[in-house]
């Protein structure tokens, strides 16, 4: 079981309030991702749940029980740190067994659980090595192993992939998702990378300056961002935000069109512009198009092998159905 409820939780460091009153419920078995730019309070929020920081006000409940004043060791949660935080003086086996040793389990049970975890995480051959002798990906797996043997109520991940190189990151992303499928345990995952958020989450919590901007499934956030901030943050490449005449024509202060919802054409369309930088990725091509009278270029996704180059004239047609409209306060107009 791992239902976590935050009730009017606040956090202040001295005079500075980093988390204004915040309510959030994480259901049992959910994979929740906290995402936001650096300094948005997502890590602080995770540490509040872990008990590594005190809340300034409000209540944290785990499975209905008030855990606000419970020390981290007794909350029944497991955490995977950004730096892995493995114990360098212990072998992999001892690292994974440490929480079991602390819980006072007998030796046979410890060995059994360590063996299981090692099997699941492909660590069996490395059990007698020290963390210093492992690669980044292996260390990450040891950290996860240490977390799963406790059979915690929930897993907390604090930007666990940010120290890995790009290729490994994709692999570990899949592994963590698979782990969730298998264990069905609540997972709370903090990242600044919206791709990780979109690919892994059941539910995304977008944070800015300690505020929750929007909570929803990845597709909800993609389809109906509640405000300009979420619109700009979710989706890659980011949504084009256009104000002025074009927005007014559509009764909005700002309109947003995703690059994949614009059709480019060499000879006809709604907007006329010039191709600036063209990024050829093979499967896709992204054009940065300079439209007359606008300083910001518009990003457009085209097919993989479109024969248009720097300086060419281009016509763009947005999909009117999929234009997002925002009012003067940046809120979505339904």
């Amino acid at each position: 079981m791992g239902r976590i409820t935050l009730d009017k939780v606040t956090k202040a460091f001295g005079e500075v309030e980093v988390i204004p009153p915040l309510d959030l419920t994480i259901e049992d078995g959910e994979f929740v991702v906290f995402v936001g730019p650096s300094g948005c309070g997502k890590s602080t929020l995770l540490r509040l749940i872990a008990g590594l920081e005190d809340v300034t006000g409000g209540q944290i409940r785990i499975d209905g029980k008030d855990a606000t004043a419970v020390p981290p060791a007794k909350r029944g949660l497991a955490m995977v740190f950004q730096s892995y935080a493995l114990y360098p003086h212990m072998s992999v086996r001892k690292n994974i067994a440490f929480p079991l040793r602390m819980a006072g389990l007998d030796k046979a049970e410890q060995d059994r659980r360590v063996k299981n975890a090692a099997d699941v995480l492909n660590l069996t051959d490395y059990l007698d090595r020290r963390p210093g002798q492992l690669s980044g990906g292996q260390r990450q797996r040891v950290a996860i192993g240490r977390a799963i043997v406790r059979e915690p109520a929930a897993f907390l991940f604090d930007e666990p992939l940010s120290n890995l190189d790009a290729a490994l990151r994709v692999g570990m992303r899949l592994e963590i998702s698979e782990l969730h499928e298998r264990l069905k345990t609540t997972m709370i995952y903090v990242t600044h990378d919206q791709v990780e958020a979109m690919t892994m989450a059941d539910k995304i919590v977008v944070l800015r300056a300690g505020h929750i901007e929007q909570v929803g499934s990845p597709l909800e956030l993609y389809r109906e961002p509640r405000n300009l901030f979420v619109a700009g943050f979710i989706g890659s490449p980011r949504m084009n935000l256009i104000d002025g005449e074009e927005a007014r024509k559509r009764d909005a202060a700002t309109i947003g069109v995703r690059p994949e919802h614009i059709t480019p054409s060499p000879d006809t369309g709604t907007w006329k512009g010039r191709v600036g930088v063209a990024e050829h990725l093979g499967s896709d091509t992204f054009f940065h198009v300079h439209i007359d009278g606008r300083s910001e270029p518009v990003t457009v996704r085209a097919g993989g092998e479109v024969a248009m180059h720097h300086g060419d004239t281009i016509y763009l047609t947005p999909d009117e159905e999929r234009i997002h409209r925002f009012d003067g306060k940046g809120l979505r107009i339904a």
């Binding site: 060791a73 007794k74 955490m79 929480p99």
Partner: protein, 276 residues
């Protein structure tokens, strides 16, 4: 610098460095050498570097005259005891300062160091008075406490610097893994800080071993360590160079040997943990 050094330059620097090293080491070398000479050869003119009659009789005489082993044993107990006691008190304090820093942490640390600046002589009489009062004069226990107190700031400071190199996330991980404070310090922090703790212990054994104000002023016979043993040789009586050398060698040998065997930790310790 990743650059080929010319052999000639290396020869020159080697010669200079060895010359300087031997010059600095010379008084110790000369003392050890003289301790194996007869008294007559010890003051021979010109000085004898080799070709003297190798003898151990000076060591025998010194042991017989002043019971070296008793002083040695006192030194071991006092230096070891004060260091262990100091470590036991300093580890929790250094943990607090390194991992739960507050606005006052730095002030407390500097204040601790500043107690080290209190001139010992300024409080000599009160301390002797307290020693008399509590029957501590000329006891090893009393000296252990005093030497622990004068070195405590250094121990705390060194441990603090070493602990600060340990990432806090690892201790937080231990906490998440269900470790209480005791387990956190015992199973995670201490093993990780072993090299630093070893350096701290080594340096403090040396400082306590060589401490020569309180050990001279608060002991007489029973608890007198090697500093007092050697001070009794300060008034010359007849031909005594070889015996003085033997006594000196015996006083410094344990520390020299210990230093050679633990050079790496010691070098780290000698920098008081202040420079990496």
């Amino acid at each position: 610098m990743a650059r080929a050094v010319t052999t000639r330059r290396k020869i020159v620097t080697t010669v200079v460095a060895w010359a300087v090293g031997l010059l600095i080491f010379f008084p110790i070398y000369w003392t050890i050498l003289t301790s194996f000479k007869t008294e007559a050869q010890a003051v021979a003119n010109p000085p004898l570097f080799f070709g003297f009659d190798f003898t151990l009789e000076n060591y025998a005489i010194v042991q017989e005259r002043s019971d070296y082993m008793r002083y040695l044993w006192n030194s071991v107990i006092i230096a070891g005891g004060s260091t262990i006691l100091g470590i036991l008190i300093a580890v929790p304090a250094a943990w607090s300062m390194a991992f739960v820093p507050s606005k006052r942490t730095k002030d407390i640390l500097l204040w601790m160091l500043s107690t080290k600046m209190l001139p010992a002589v300024g409080v000599l009489y009160p301390i002797s008075l307290l020693f008399v009062q509590f029957d501590l004069l000329d006891t090893r226990g009393g000296l252990i406490v005093v030497l622990m107190l004068i070195n405590l700031p250094i121990i705390v400071w060194m441990l603090y610097t070493y602990f600060r190199e340990i990432p806090g996330e690892i201790l937080e991980a231990a906490r998440m893994d269900g470790a209480g404070l005791r387990a956190e310090i015992l199973y995670v922090l201490t093993p990780m800080a072993i090299p630093g703790i070893a350096s701290t212990i080594l340096l403090n054994v040396i400082l306590a071993w060589n401490e020569a104000f309180w050990t001279l002023n608060l002991t007489a016979v029973n608890a007198a360590p090697l500093t007092a043993f050697i001070a009794s040789y300060s008034s010359p009586e007849g031909l005594f160079y070889a015996k003085l050398s033997a006594a000196s060698t015996m006083a410094i040998a344990p520390i020299l040997v210990m230093g050679w065997f633990s050079q790496k930790q010691l070098v780290r310790g000698l920098t008081f943990g202040a420079v990496k």
